[in-house]
Amino acid sequence: MIWIDMIVTFIIAVLSGMGMGSGGFLVLYLTFFRKFPQLTAQGINLVFFLFASASAMTVHLLHRKMHLSAILLMVVAGLPAAYLGTRLALVLPEALTTRLFGIFLIIAGLPGVFRSTREKNSEKT
C-alpha cells in the first residue's frame, strides 16, 4: 500500500512542480482512499508541498525570472493570514472544511475550463 501512496504522491508532485499545484488530489486521495481524517490529510498535503515545491524551485531559479520584491510582499502578508487560517481549521467541523475545500476547487477550476474551451474555439475560426 505504501508503494501506491508513493507513486500517487510522485505523480501529484510532478504536477505541483509544473506550478499547477496538487489540485487537492493528494487530500482527496488520502481522505477518500486511505481514510485519513481531513485535517491530517491537509497537514500531510502541506508537508508534501514543501518538499515538492522546494525541489521544483531549484530548477525554476535557473530558468525563470523571480520577482523578489513582489514575492516578499506576498509572503509578509501571507504568514499571519496562514496562522489565522490554520487556527480556524482546527476549530471548524471536519465536514465543513471538506465542503469548503471542494467548493473552492470548483470555483477555481470552472473559469479555467471555460477559458480553455473558448481559446480552443477561437483557434478554429
Partner: protein, 142 residues
C-alpha cells in the same frame, strides 16, 4: 516601454496593496484548507498580466511560466509556517507524513524541468480539469 515578464517593478501604493491582499488571501486559504493558496495566486496574477501583454505573444507565454515559479516561491514559506502549526498543534505526526518526502522531491524536480517542455495551453487545460474534478468529488464526499 520595455516589457517585463512580471510587471511589478513599479512599486506604487496600489501595487503594494494588491500584492499584500493577494498574499494574505493565499496564506489564509492555505492555512484553512492545507492547499489552494497557489491556485489563487496563479489565477489572479495570470489575469493581471493578461491585461498587460498582447494575446498569444511570447512575452505573455513567458510571463505565465514566471507566474508559476513565483507562486511556488510565495507558497513555500507560507506552507512551512502552516505545516509547523499543524505539527505543533498535534494534528500531524511525523510518522504519518514520512512517506511523501522522497516521491515529492523526485516529482518536484521532474515537474520543474517539464514546465518549459510542455505547451502552455495543455498545461492550463489539465490544471483546470484536475482542479474541477477534485472539487466535485470533495463536495459529493462531504
Amino acid at each position: 516601454m520595455q516589457a517585463q515578464h512580471f510587471p511589478f517593478d513599479r512599486r506604487t501604493g496600489s501595487t503594494v496593496f494588491f500584492l499584500l491582499m493577494l498574499g494574505a488571501g493565499a496564506g489564509f486559504i492555505n492555512g484553512l484548507l492545507g492547499a489552494g493558496g497557489g491556485i489563487l495566486l496563479v489565477y489572479v496574477l495570470r489575469g493581471y498580466v493578461n491585461r498587460r501583454y498582447p494575446k498569444n505573444s511570447d512575452t505573455l507565454a513567458k510571463a505565465h511560466r514566471d507566474i508559476y515559479a513565483n507562486a511556488l516561491a510565495v507558497m513555500l514559506p507560507v506552507s512551512v509556517f502552516s505545516a509547523l502549526h499543524y505539527v505543533l498543534s498535534g494534528t500531524l505526526k511525523t510518522a504519518s507524513f514520512s512517506f511523501v518526502i522522497l516521491p515529492s522531491v523526485a516529482g518536484g524536480i521532474l515537474g520543474g524541468w517539464l514546465l518549459d517542455k510542455l505547451k502552455l495551453s495543455w498545461l492550463r487545460r489539465l490544471f483546470a480539469l484536475l482542479v474541477l474534478c477534485s472539487g466535485v468529488l470533495m463536495v459529493l464526499r462531504a
